[in-house]
Amino acid sequence: MAKTINVCIAGLGGQGVLTASDLVAEIAFRSELDVKKSEVHGMSQRGGSVNSDVRFGERVASPMISEGEADFLVVLDETQIEVNRHRLKPDGILIVPSSIPEGKLANPKSLNVALLGVLSKHLEFPESLWMAVLREFLPAKILAVNEESFRLGRL
């Protein structure tokens, strides 16, 4: 994996955008890759648009993904798709809530992890690593529902 992979995660404050980008960054970190993750805190977290960039590969310099250079754009809220589409490469992959079969998600709060399940199919990391990171990062109380959501996305 010599090339740098750019993953942009977007949504609204409170949807778990930053948790999702933390999980992706951790996966890359445990795979011995260079990794950088960027996010913005403060006023933007009061229910407004939130996004977070994760970049990984042999060597990453800037923590931010430039316009039109995201390999993957993961959007947690339908209203935020068009707002962020310009970030995606022409041949980049868009992952959106409708990527999950309707009515299958046990808890809407785990949409972030379900969409990571979809993302995981496109990346070279083993499923066991994703599951190990979920177990370590998520509180025991919500682990089972998130594991189920991840598998649903990965189907």
């Binding site: 609204l12 404050g13 778990g16 948790t19 933390d22 960054a25 951790e26 970190f29 011995e32 260079d34 990794v35 950088k36 993750k37 960027s38 996010e39 913005v40 805190h41 403060g42 006023m43 933007s44 977290q45 009061r46 229910g47 407004g48 648009s49 990453v60 310099a61 800037s62 923590p63 931010m64 430039s66 316009e67 209203t79 935020q80 068009e82 707002v83 310009h86 709060k109 785990s110 992890v113 990062f137 998520l138 509180p139 109380k141 919500i142 998130n146």
Partner: protein
């Protein structure tokens, strides 16, 4: 890097880890994006960290620690240094015994700030050496180096970081050996520490002599290094901070002089570097601080377009900057603006202020969002505490009928930060129509992420503490009408109360007290030991 020692940290966390490894005796500051997580993380990993009521007090406490030969870290956002500036300029004269490092977290692009001032100017203005890390590894290493420089020259050091350094997570390898912590002691040094004019005059000369030595150090220090350029390149880049990382991608073949110690600048090193390239450009975010200094020193650099003074840089913007092409911001669709939470107690207050057509002198916090629809019930917002003074000024100047509609609105943490002197002013110079101050007391510093403050009854780490009540303070100051009301539980009572105060023509403070809904959720989580995914 496969030695298992690497860790993934934000710049803020890396600074905290370095503070721990530097044996910092006390970390103090006031919450402010993007600096807040430094002290929170320092406390979490075992450091002694506390929130001060404001940045000026934080710096003063830190100065005391450093005078006692212990190491102190003081953190704030860029505008916080405006508040702390008084002490900052003079502690440069007195110098320190133990290391004193002040972190200024700047917010170019204003992700969560009222301006995008470039605090590198403060280093120059005060004569305080400045380090600028570009990622978490440097944030860690430069914090330790800052303490070394501070103690070697007995001078405070400014660690200047920006949003993308603070809030980006990158890899860090920790030093094998922490710094050994000095033993605190007190030694009389009245000539060096008591800045009456006869002592301050020689102190200023001592400061300039130290800076001359540090400038010589800057010329040869590995904190300022050159990268290996690609073959046949004509382009040399002088850069610092996050701009270095963007430049590495925007122009991988260019020769690069990366400045870590960016005040005092290594002018001769830069002069020699610039002379080796056909074209030399400074890539920096914010003010053209380095560029203008180099031009003044007669070093030939191509000035950048004025457009790059505004907002953050990124790889694409650096490409434009280097090519000298006209830069126009790409028209990107607007995102969803932030808003007061559903169930936020501030909502009732702003609905009322809107419906009554009040002239609202506002302040800094979540409640600044009262300016946005559906409320549009805030007319001014300048800096921490300004709601009170500005409201008084409006009352003094406006015709009586309009003056009576003026209300100052300030949050609990902001009130304790810099509202107290505003109340003193109100009592001392009362407007003829009286005045009404609304303190929106939601029991937390909400906007920056629910930090404790002297009014919450809890310390930074959640332990119980003395509780300072705003109603006690304003009564003691001599405010005639003081009331406390819950705007969520008793909407009608609150409205009646506020109406009576507005009609009274007297000096009045009404405290709207209802806990922040996010803070309640946090308290619940803390007490059950659970966290949300």
């Amino acid at each position: 890097m496969k030695d298992g020692k690497r860790i993934l940290l934000s710049g803020d966390e890396a600074i905290a880890l370095a503070a721990l490894d530097a044996g910092v005796a006390l970390g103090t500051g006031y919450p402010g994006t993007p600096s807040t997580e430094i002290l929170e993380h320092f406390s979490k990993i075992g450091g002694h960290a506390q929130w001060a009521p404001n940045e000026k007090v934080a710096l003063e406490v830190a100065i005391g620690v450093a005078y006692a030969n212990a190491r102190a870290l003081v953190t704030m956002k860029h505008v916080g240094l405006n508040v702390a500036a008084d002490g900052f300029f003079t502690v440069a004269y007195t110098g320190v015994n133990g290391g004193l490092v002040l972190v200024s977290a700047d917010d170019p692009g204003m992700a969560s700030s009222q301006n995008e001032q470039d605090n590198r100017r403060y280093a120059v203005a005060a004569g305080v050496p400045m380090l600028e890390p570009s990622d978490s590894q440097e944030a860690y290493e430069f914090t330790l180096r800052a303490f070394e420089i501070s103690e070697r020259w007995q001078i405070p050091v400014l660690l200047r970081v920006t949003t993308r350094v603070c809030h980006s997570k990158t890899l860090v390898v920790r030093r094998d050996k922490p710094l050994s912590a000095p033993s605190p002691f007190f030694e009389h040094n009245r000539k060096g520490r008591v800045m009456i004019p006869s002592n301050a005059r020689p102190a200023h000369r001592r400061l300039r002599a130290k800076l001359a030595e540090i400038a010589a150090f800057s010329e040869s220090s590995d904190l300022n290094f050159e990268t290996t350029p690609g073959a046949n390149t004509d382009l040399g880049i002088v850069t610092s901070g996050i701009s270095y990382q963007h430049s590495l991608e925007a122009a991988p073949d260019a020769g690069m002089l990366k400045l870590g110690l960016s005040y005092p600048l290594p002018i001769e090193k830069i002069r020699a570097f610039a002379a080796r390239y056909k074209k030399c450009v400074v890539v920096e975010e914010g003010d053209p601080y380095i560029q203008d200094t180099l031009l003044a020193a007669g070093i030939k650099v191509v000035p950048r377009d004025e457009e790059f003074r505004f907002g953050e840089l990124n790889v694409a913007r650096v490409r434009c900057l280097l090519s000298g092409k006209d830069y126009t911001s790409p028209a990107t669709p607007p995102g969803k603006p932030p808003a007061l939470c559903t169930g936020c107690p501030h909502r009732e207050v702003f609905s009322l202020l809107r419906d009554w057509d009040c002239i609202v002198s506002g302040d800094i916090g979540c409640y600044s969002l009262g300016v946005l629809p559906p409320f549009e019930a805030m007319d001014t917002c300048v800096c921490m505490g300004a709601s009170i003074g500005t409201g008084l000024g409006l009352r003094h100047a406006l015709p009586e009928k309009e003056a009576k509609r003026v209300v100052s609105v300030i949050g609990d943490s902001t009130f304790l930060h810099s509202g107290l002197t505003g109340i003193v002013e109100m009592v001392y110079n009362p407007p003829s129509t009286g005045h009404v101050v609304l303190i929106l007391d939601n029991g937390t510093t909400a906007m920056t992420g629910l930090q404790e403050h002297p009014g919450t009854g809890r310390l930074l780490n959640g332990a119980p503490a003395a509780k300072v009540l705003p109603e006690d303070i304003v009564r003691a100051m001599g405010v005639e009408l003081v009331g406390v009301c819950d705007p969520s539980a008793d909407k009608e009572g609150f409205a009646r109360h506020l109406r009576a105060y507005l009609d009274s023509g007297k000096l009045a403070v009404l405290i709207a007290r209802h806990p922040c809904i996010l803070s309640l959720a946090k308290q619940k989580k803390t007490s059950t030991g659970n966290t949300n995914g």
